[in-house]
Amino acid sequence: MKKWQTQVENRRARLQRASDICGEKVVPADRMRSLLENVIEPGDRVCLEGNNQKQADFLARCLAQVDPARVHGLHMVQSVIGLPEHIELFERGIANKVDFSYSGPVGTRMAQLVADGKIQIGAIHTYLELFGRYFIDLTPRVALIVAHSADRQGNLYTGPNTEDTPTIVEATAFKSGIVIAQVNQVVDILPRVDIPADWVDFVTEAPTPHFIEPLFTRDPAQIGEVKILMAMMVIKGIYAEYGINRLNHGVGFDTAAIELLLPTYAESLGLKGQICRHWMLNPHPTLIPAIESGFAESVYSPGSELGMEDYVRARPDIFFTGIDGSQRTNRAFSHAAGHYACDLFIGSTLQVDLDGNSSTVTLDRIAGFGGAPNLGADARGRRHCQAAWLKAGRESRGQAKGMPRGRKLVVQMVETFREQMQPTFVERLDAWEFMENLGMELPPVMIYGDDVSHIVTEEGIANLLLCRTEEERNDAIRGVAGYTLVGRERSRSAVENLRDRGIIRRPEDLGIDKRMATRDLLAARSVKELVRWSGGLYQPPKRFRNW
């Protein structure tokens, strides 16, 4: 007789063993390590919550301290590998395999562990892809999650950084898994319920509040004139021309410059109400001036941002907030929104080849992708029409016959050289050598060239939609690749020909006066000025304060 309840029975057995450690839902912090040793079985698939913002750091520490004789061979599934404890799991043999999206500052140590055979990488995913697999072939047996607070029944309040929590809990709790949450405090009454108690098995009050990183804060003081010039080109040559109103910005100084030019440069071009009205974006502090001056009308976020809590709370017409007034975020829904409901994605990268493929992989560091592959990809399943989407589709089709359709604008915004004169444009991505070294099946490409519509550098805009042959595409990319080796190998006549046809556009072709590209054009030139724009509601973390 085939048994159909093995997972349910296994769950019951785990809870039985847990009751030897603690009979309550609220577990004392000092018993968490033993609880994990009793609840987790060797070879389990375990999801350790942590994104590039909030981290289940206490549970990560407890897991890194379990006895490897009892708990070993774990298969970790997690958005981000970002804490030293995540690395310790592999160094101590507690875990040996990982499927993930992004690795932060520990990327270099991770590359070493892979070389030593201590980590087997399943795959590097984009967020939505990894979340999708939680419901198909990477469903966690145990999820270790993080919330702001819990009540004694185990209801959870995530606060503004809801992020990945609902997705992880959904996949685990409804497939007979075990959900354990760390919280900053256990309280009698929660401001709101983000995760209902019957989806949560155990809660513990961590000795210190969970780690959270202000990942999306860019200090305007560090935005130079080249970025300002590029931002002017994007606003005039792309946002205005396509009428971009539904968009997502990557994280970085390039796109922060665009945000800070909306109330000044874009306003002077009469573009308020014409561009940038609806956003899928973390609450970037550099977006405050655009919100205050009436450019941005709505913002839906995958996560919040430290210091922005009171500002968001005071602007519920703009942001999504709960009945308690604070922001509610959701990474999975945001990335679905970014994929299907936005007409444009713009972001930066480390390397671009002549076909427009881009990668953030370097030989000694495993960086991962985050959301870029999903946000920076044409949504083939999209059916609703917007003017920008239709125009991009028309440009891409040219005179071709057959079924018309629109397409997403995917813009890569890069300076031709990075710091230490590292060229952004290369003949061959480092990703190829990385693939060979790691025995991967494909090079880790962040955004494929055939999804890219425009490349913007300090030299100008290359519109790849208008290129009709592979050769034209290569010439167009060389034509904006500046003084990199790839750029210097351009044919001047080919580039002039592309310029005549509007495939390459220089600042002067766009009617941009380079003398205007100064820091005076930024709506805010410092974090302090952002605070002033917010009427004192934005409270920057200490490291961004220098007054």
């Binding site: 130079g224 080249v226 031709t416 050289f417 004169m421 500046g482 003084y483 210097r488 380079k514």
Partner: protein
């Protein structure tokens, strides 16, 4: 510190009595550009002092493109560079030239 020098023949020997122009500051990743008139028989000279050594070939490409973009005549241009990318150099040179041309003779 690396010192580079470039010379360009001019198309005319026009003499204008314009005041010198200085734009930018020398700091990490930035540079200052000084443009002044000089009696060079129509030709122009560009002097580069840069903190970053080993990029002479790229400097030559950047400076040659700059000279092609603008009609240089009897100009002495001095560049004091704190290790800027070619993007910053080109932008600063164009800004300096626009500033210089905008000056009353």
């Amino acid at each position: 510190m690396e010192h580079l020098q470039f010379q360009f023949p001019g198309s005319s020997d026009r003499q204008q009595d314009k005041p010198a122009v200085l734009v930018g500051v020398v700091s990490s990743g930035n540079l200052e550009v000084l443009i002044e008139m000089a009696a060079l028989g129509g030709g122009s000279q560009i002097h580069v002092s840069t903190k970053a050594s080993g990029f002479a070939e790229i400097w030559e490409a950047v400076i040659t493109d700059f000279a092609t973009r603008h009609d240089l005549a009897n100009l002495m241009i001095s560049i004091n560079d704190g290790g800027s990318t070619p993007a910053v150099v080109s932008l600063r040179l164009d800004q300096a030239m626009q500033e210089f041309l905008g000056m009353p003779s």
